[in-house]
């Protein structure tokens, strides 16, 4: 960890999602909170602060693997 916490720029991310959706002329399903309305401390994203050191793909893979444990059909047919 660098020690310095990266901040989530909520607005930027939400904006990307908005653009993506409007491209296929869909109504956005999710209310967007403007940057600045969250008044608390910045947080790291889960793949940044902990064991994954910023490797988002590895984190997503780990989570996907982990969710297999919740489905016993993976081991019993």
């Amino acid at each position: 960890m660098s020690g310095k916490l990266k901040s989530i720029t909520l607005a930027a991310l939400a904006g990307t999602a908005l653009l993506g959706l409007s491209a296929c002329s869909e109504v956005p399903q999710v209310t967007v909170y403007e940057q600045g309305q969250y008044s608390g401390k910045a947080d790291t994203r889960p793949w940044e602060g902990g064991a994954f050191k910023g490797d988002r793909a590895a984190w997503e893979k780990a989570l996907k693997e982990r969710s297999r444990g919740q489905n016993e059909y993976n081991r019993i047919q």
Partner: protein
């Protein structure tokens, strides 16, 4: 500033809130009921004891918080110590502190799943309400003493009693919470002390099952497994509330249901298991035999029985058929148990048309004065349907405690040495050989050879051992003077009101337990001195094996060092063995290790190896510590449905080497997943019914029919058990090595300690060492060879008592006079004054007597008060409302003050009480009698304070499920 930012969001929120509020407002579940009735009190009292706030500074009382991130993380694999399912859990330990608990998805038994108890295991690493050091009752108060003083004083007192009254004046109550090795050592311990006056929870849990089932087909255990229920097409639960008592079993059961299996629940109470069933049938408590024979009536009437199977593998079914068709016609069934014909027919059809079908029973069936007959009726149903010895079928008898199966198998039983060897001289000689001690020396430890071979008093009756007229007790020592409670709750035994009298009359009472507080407080209520409390540690602070209900053994790693001044049970045993002067004999073949404080600790792996060398009867011989540890490391290689390892280092083994795992570990028997399964080779876990009752009865052969042996057996007919003579006759003797021959000469498959007979019979010839016989539908050595319905001693139906009276009294039964008929006659009209059936059962949050789980704040918060479930009709008749305090009074005049939960879960005429509570005594909180700092968080009335007299006619199982009471507003 409090303006809403999104009008739509707030509106929809209100709408949802309204909907869920309506939903919740209409019903009152158990928890809502408790919260509304008493949450404030409990929470207020606790505020000062518990870490209360996330916002505050780090609290020193929460070691996990501080130590969570420091030090190297080590993973220790352990097994939940609550019920018998055997759920694996990974403990994460840093700097010796248990900071974290992770699910073990790899476990084929629980696949990571836990109930409330299993998910709260880590709290054992806090243990703030445990007994922390040895204590002694002085002038009515518990005082701290040193271990040295405790061992000295307890030892001297016990030795003095032994000197004055003989070894049988002491009683040792062992534990199903001990691991196999400790349970086994305790049986050895009491043998060297010189008595058979020992017992443990199995007596009051499944003793009727063990006796009934073993006498029917060979072994007294669950025939299949939780996992195998996934292969069932229909499941009948009778007297089992698995959803609360064995929650993780529902993972397999609901999976089976999801894939088409039909589910029937039979119970006086609409349980949470019933809520998941396709058909729920309410019976009157204690009428299991009429119900089961009522099903058989329809099965025989419609020709649904498996005739070929019965011809080949069952003895006496014709007699059952006659009895059932003559006696248990639909009208008679409905009269006795209250179930109409159409419901009976539907259930019978479901079981018959969806084979393999399985049956599950628990304490609802075993804890009756005719428990042995009820369990046999269940066996007979399954035999008639041809379901035993089949995957998906079987008698899935769910055991209670985490190691009650193991403690039954190798632990402190009053009628047997480890491995069901019995108490005959030959059995003693076998075990003395294994222990490496002289038979004559052990005999000298007993008062006489006769007493050495005579079954001891049972835990259900120890109070009568103290209180009964001395001349009527069938042992020269007379009354019991000392009782050692070594890991057993007092509030799980009936007649609590008389138990305090017994405690008062004792010379010495010793409690060895992490949570001895229920016994301690009861004793302090009636005594001033003579009580000692010794802190044992939990199974997370030691290592060893535990046998789950499905007979699989699992190895626990030590998670943390013993907390406070506590010691593992086997270390305490060795310390007393030293005090008693036979320490060397006690550990002849067992290495001693030194613990951190310099105490001698018998090496657990060596103990298991000794068990391996002696327990040939039930195949505890193949499960070496090395094999068990390999299984724990390679859980992921086992198939969940079959429990068989596919490839990997355990290839071909069944998980946990479910007993019987015959032969030496080197023979590599894979264990037996389903008992008596002829579709498999014996070296692949196959088998057949046991030849244990002779080869013929009344001119009829008891051996199995031609062609019904296990797959690939050289002998494809029925055959007797193997011994040296049979081996020679068959010409197989020379297949033994010279060393094996020397050991096997004059021996049989159970006593040949070389394992040679088992090796040759199984590996070379594919036969079963215990022979191949028929199961017995008629058990002629029991009081009722054909199971009979008999009304409980305290019956709500005098008319039924006249029709189905109980047994005659027995004057000498497990060393005590035992009343049946005279007692029933005396109270046959008592239902006029006590009109309601009083029954008891489990809650998911607590286990057993409950001291341990009620000391765990994560669990205690969920069930804060003792309560009674009462039908609205009975509540209205008695004039009280939901949530009010009521008195539940039984014919013993004992009164319980509990909260009323008014619910249709119970039928009019039935009152249900959970049995996990203690710490209140007839309306009074016993807090002041507890050792300081060791009172559980939640206390309440123990149902067994009010339970009545009544014992099974074979095993002395106590009657808890059917007695009487009346209720009134407090």
């Amino acid at each position: 500033m409090l303006t809403k930012k999104s009008a739509t969001a707030a509106t929809s929120a209100r709408r949802l809130r309204g909907a869920s509020a309506r939903q919740l407002g209409q019903t009152m579940d158990r928890r809502a009921f408790l919260k509304r009735s008493g949450l404030g009190v409990g929470a207020g009292a606790l505020a000062t004891q518990l870490p209360y706030n996330f916002i505050g500074a780090a609290d020193a009382a929460t070691p996990a918080g501080a130590a969570r991130a420091e030090g190297k993380a080590e993973i220790r694999r352990t097994i939940c110590t609550h019920c018998s399912v055997g759920c694996a859990a990974d403990a994460v330990v840093r700097n010796g502190v248990w900071v974290h608990q992770e699910p073990v998805f790899d476990s084929p038994i629980n696949l990571g799943a836990h109930c409330a108890k299993g998910a709260a295991l880590r709290e054992h690493g806090h243990g703030e309400y445990r007994l922390k050091y040895p204590m002694k009752l002085v002038d009515g108060k518990y005082q701290k003493i040193s271990w040295e003083q405790a061992l000295d004083e307890v030892g001297d007192r016990l030795l003095k009693i032994r000197e004055e009254s003989g070894p049988d004046a002491a009683y040792f109550i062992g534990s199903s919470k001990h691991n196999n090795e400790q349970a086994y050592l305790l049986r050895k311990f009491v043998s060297f002390w010189g008595t058979n006056n020992t017992d443990h929870q199995a007596r009051i849990c499944h003793s009727t099952t063990v006796a009934g089932v073993a006498n029917t087909w060979g072994y007294g255990a669950m025939t299949n497994s939780y996992n195998d229920m996934q292969n069932a097409k229909a499941m009948l639960f009778i007297g089992s509330n698995a959803a609360e008592a064995h929650p993780v079993s529902l993972l397999h059961i609901l999976h089976a249901k999801e894939n088409g299996a039909k589910m029937i629940v039979v119970d006086p109470r609409f349980t949470r298991t019933a809520a998941k069933a396709h058909q729920y049938i309410r019976i009157r408590s204690g009428t299991d035999v009429p119900f089961l024979f009522g099903l058989l009536y329809h099965i025989f009437q419609n020709g649904w029985e498996d005739k070929q199977y019965i011809d080949d593998r069952v003895f006496g079914m014709d007699k059952i058929r006659e009895e059932v068709l003559a006696k248990w016609t639909p009208d008679q069934v409905e009269e006795a148990c209250g179930v109409p014909e159409d419901q009976m027919l539907l259930a019978a059809r479901t079981m018959a048309e969806n084979r393999p079908s399985t049956i599950v029973w628990c304490m609802g069936q075993t804890q009756h004065s005719i428990g042995n007959a009820m369990v046999r009726a269940s066996c007979i149903l399954q035999l008639a349907l041809g379901n035993i010895g089949k995957s998906g079928g079987g008698a899935n008898i769910f055991r209670g405690h985490d190691n009650v199966q193991g403690a039954t198998d190798v632990g402190p039983n009053p009628d047997s040495l480890p491995g069901y060897y019995g108490l005959a001289a030959g059995s003693w000689k076998h075990w003395c050989g294994v222990w490496g001690v002289d038979y004559e020396w052990v005999k000298g430890r007993y008062a006489s050879q006769a007493l050495m071979e005579k079954s001891g008093i049972t835990v259900s009756r120890w109070i009568d051992g103290v209180l009964e007229n001395k001349d009527l007790i069938d042992q020269p020592a007379g009354n019991l003077r000392a009782v050692v409670y070594w890991g057993h709750a007092p509030n799980s035994q009936t007649r609590g009101a008389e138990m305090v009298e017994a405690m008062k009359a004792l010379d010495t009472l010793v409690v060895i337990d992490p949570y001895p507080s229920a016994t301690a407080s009861m004793a302090a209520m009636v005594r001033k001195d003579g009580v000692y409390l010794l802190p044992a540690c939990t199974q997370f602070e030691t290592t060893g094996s535990a046998t789950a209900s499905n007979r699989s053994l699992q190895w626990r790693e030590k998670v943390i060092e013993p907390l406070f001044e506590s010691k593992p049970d086997h270390t305490i045993m060795y310390a007393f063995a030293k005090k008693f002067g036979w320490a060397d004999e006690f550990v002849k073949n067992i290495k001693l290790d030194k613990d951190a404080q310099g105490w001698d600790e018998p090496n657990i792996e060596d103990v298991l190896r000794e068990i391996n060398r002696g327990t040939w009867t039930i195949g505890y011989t193949g499960q070496s510590p090395e094999r068990l540890k390999l299984h724990m490391k390679n859980m992921h290689t086992f198939d969940v449905k079959t429990l068989k390892a596919v490839g990997g280092p355990c290839d071909g083994d069944y998980f946990g080497l479910p007993w019987p795992c015959f032969g030496t570990p080197e023979m590599k028997h894979p264990g037996t997943p389903n008992l008596y399964d002829t579709s498999k080779h014996v070296m692949d876990g196959g088998g057949n019914f046991r030849a244990n009752f002779g080869v013929e009865k009344d001119g009829v052969s008891l051996l199995a029919a031609e062609g019904s042996a296990s797959k690939g057996a050289d002998l494809q007919m029925g055959y007797p058990e193997f011994d040296h003579v049979l081996l020679k006759k068959l010409g197989w003797w020379d297949e033994l090595t010279e060393a094996e021959k020397a050991a096997a000469e004059g021996k049989n498959w159970k006593t040949d300690v070389s394992g040679g007979i088992q090796r040759v019979v199984m590996k070379n010839h594919g036969c079963h060492p215990f022979g191949n016989a028929k199961a017995r539908a008629v058990v002629w050595n029991f009081p009722d060879p054909i199971p009979q319905h008999r009304e409980p001693i305290y019956s709500p139906r005098p008319d039924m008592v006249a029709k189905y009276p109980t047994h005659d009294d027995k004057m000498k039964f497990w060393r005590l006079p035992t009343l049946y008929k005279s007692m029933q006659d005396k109270v046959k009209d008592i239902s006029k004054d006590y009109p309601l059936i009083m029954t008891s059962g489990r809650l998911v949050e607590y286990e057993g007597g409950g001291e341990e789980t009620r000391s765990n704040p994560w669990l205690a918060e969920l069930q804060q008060e003792m309560f009674a479930e009462v039908n609205p009709k009975d509540a209205n008749d008695a004039g009280f409302r939901n949530g009010e305090y009521i008195w539940v009074e039984s014919p013993t005049k004992a009164k319980l003050k509990v909260r009323a939960q008014v619910t249709q879960r119970v039928a009019p005429g039935t009152v249900f009480l959970p049995f996990h509570f203690s710490g209140w005594w007839q309306g009074e909180d016993m807090l002041k009698f507890y050792p300081e700092g060791a009172a559980p968080i939640v206390r309440g009335e123990a149902v067994n304070t009010a339970t009545t007299y009544g014992y099974d006619s074979v095993t002395m199982m106590q009657e808890t499920k059917t007695t009487l009471c009346r209720v009134s507003k407090a």
